[in-house]
């Protein structure tokens, strides 16, 4: 064989490798490094990963806490795990979250997971909250700069609510974090957008539909689908409180609203968004009229943007499947991820009504999102660090 290996064949081989192996291949020579770290290759690799996900029946990323000692209140350890849809549950391994030390309060929360990257933040750190974007597949992360408007003390914190969204701007091939800071004194929140490509925050001036701030930021988790971030929020109408979905388009950087069906609209504080699947999904929690427990019902917006397409797809009560305390997520293959009474993560297959124990016992406050393997952050520019 003389001359270099044909580059079109090389690309076809490399596209079939996992990010970890690609990092290794990027150390082979300069031309391979240029190829693997090229934007085009990274996005083609993700497209392939997306196709594979459909064959693998929906993979999940899990971020979990475990209380280290029964008697200690603030003694937690953070872990993460990746569940591949076609994987044997026995093979599921759990790793210690490697970046706890970056957070002032050593207590981070996942803001969101998108295209192989996970965004985490420590909302309670008043001396400028810490945020990071992390790629667990290639062990790289970037520490975000501080937002422009920050709260300086606990008194101010009591008067403000802050919440976030994380997603991918496909037009500009860029990851973005949006941060809404609302004060009780002011109607419109301060909105800032962070872009990974510039590694900076900027304030944006755009109309935000009036909404009430949820009492607990942690309940205001979001879902990123169709290039848009979605939060379930409330508004006051004719003296009553109703739910609606606040949206933020990451490409246009504009806010909007999506309606919920009447039953969900009229159940304030009982509706949460469900991450992990391809469709916009929410869960409604209602106290049962017949027994002492809660009824969970899962709703999907089958056709994006069409209010009439909201449909209840599955309903079960909290005493089933060994006892359920929370619905955590929905996988893209339609499995429901549950937290059991005994703090275990359980996968429920609604079609067969069967449950699969993920073997993660004693964990709580789980974040579960969709998992992909991607190469984003492989470039060492813009303050990306490895560990």
């Amino acid at each position: 064989m003389s001359g270099p290996f044909p580059s079109d064949i090389l690309v076809e081989i490399l596209l079939r490798l996992c990010p970890k192996s690609l990092v290794k291949c990027s150390c082979v020579c300069k031309s391979w490094r240029a190829l693997i770290t090229h934007r085009r290759f990274i996005s083609d690799h993700l497209s392939r990963s997306l196709q594979l996900d459909h064959r693998n029946n929906g993979s999940l990323f899990l971020h979990l806490y475990r209380r280290e000692r029964e008697d200690a209140v603030n003694c937690y350890s953070e872990f993460y795990s990746v569940y591949l849809g076609n994987q044997q549950v026995d093979d599921l391994s759990i790793s210690k979250f490697p970046l706890s030390h970056l957070f002032l309060e050593k207590y981070s929360r996942v803001i969101g997971a998108c295209n192989g990257l996970v965004c985490l933040g420590d909302y309670r750190a008043i001396r400028g909250a810490n945020h990071i974007i992390w790629n667990p597949s290639i062990r790289k992360y970037v520490v975000l700069p501080k937002p422009r408007v920050i709260l300086s003390n606990y008194r101010e914190m009591r008067h403000h609510r802050v919440f976030f969204g994380f997603g991918f701007d496909s037009r500009n091939d860029d990851f973005k974090v949006v941060r809404l800071l609302s004060s009780k004194r002011q109607d419109t929140p301060e909105v800032e957008v962070y872009s990974l490509s510039t590694n900076s925050w900027r304030s944006i001036n755009t109309r935000v539909p009036p909404f009430l701030v949820a009492t607990n930021v942690w309940k205001t988790s979001h879902m990123f689908v169709n290039g848009v971030i979605h939060w379930v929020v409330n508004s006051r109408i004719n003296g009553g409180i109703r739910n609606f979905i606040l949206t933020f388009d990451l490409v246009e950087e504009t806010f909007g609203e999506l309606m919920l069906p009447k039953l969900l609209e009229e159940s304030p504080f009982m509706v949460s968004i469900l991450t992990g699947s391809d469709s916009l999904a929410v869960v409604l929690r209602k106290d049962s009229a017949e027994f002492d427990g809660t009824v969970f019902s899962i709703w999907l917006m089958k056709e994006y943007g069409v209010v009439e397409s909201w449909a209840e797809t599955y309903r079960f009560d909290s005493s089933r499947f060994g006892g359920i305390s929370r619905v955590l997520a929905l996988s893209s293959s339609g499995e429901v991820v549950l937290q059991s009474w005994s703090d275990a993560v359980v996968l429920l297959d609604p079609k067969r009504e069967s449950v699969k124990h993920l073997g993660l016992d004693g964990f709580f406050n789980a974040f579960v999102g969709r998992h992909f393997e991607s190469l984003y952050l492989v470039n060492t520019e813009n303050g990306v660090l490895s560990y």
């Binding site: 064989m1 290996f5 044909p6 079109d8 064949i9 076809e12 081989i13 490399l14 079939r16 490798l17 996992c18 970890k20 192996s21 990092v23 290794k24 291949c25 150390c27 082979v28 020579c29 300069k30 391979w32 062990r139 060492t380 490895s386 560990y387």
Partner: protein
């Protein structure tokens, strides 16, 4: 010659003669064209040459003959399972043969199935290799300076270099 021909003869780049059945040749567009030329031309003394060496052409024909029944008629799930196992056995060869012979041939003969199988096998084999092993099989010279190499090692502590 009529279209009832069941097999055609081709020459490898080394000049050896090989027989390939009509149904197997359908897996490759270029082979199919050659077949049409042979079948419908009045002057069919000429034996077409395929720019693939004998050793590789044997493998390619073996693959075609195995996959032809399924490609031409569709197959049941159990057949597909059996074929998958056969593919794995078929690909048990030196990684250099896969990269420099099978892949090139599959590319040249427009054989999508074999190309995909060979790419995936090569990728799977590369997963278990170190950086220097990969350089060796692809005949690549390490063009990083020693400072750059030190930096790469620092940046990728989990990566196996030697």
């Amino acid at each position: 010659m009529s279209s009832s021909v069941e097999a055609i003869t081709v020459l490898s780049s080394d000049g050896d003669e090989f027989k390939i059945t009509v149904s197997a040749a359908k897996l490759s567009k270029p082979l199919n064209w050659m077949l049409e030329d042979v079948c419908f031309s009045d002057d069919c003394d000429e034996v077409p040459t395929i720019e693939v060496n004998s050793k590789t052409l044997v493998k390619v024909i073996e693959y075609c003959e195995k996959h032809a029944p399924r490609a031409n008629s569709g197959a049941s799930d159990s057949d597909a399972e059996e074929l998958k196992k056969w593919d794995i056995e078929f690909m048990k060869m030196d990684v250099k043969d896969i990269l420099f012979h099978i892949l090139m041939a599959a590319n040249y003969l427009h054989m999508e199935g074999l190309y995909d199988l060979a790419c995936q096998t090569a990728a799977d084999l590369m997963k278990g290799m170190t950086v220097s092993q990969i350089r060796k099989i692809f005949h690549i010279k390490n063009d990083f300076s020693s400072e750059e190499q030190e930096q790469l090692r620092r940046q990728h502590p989990g990566c196996s270099f030697d």
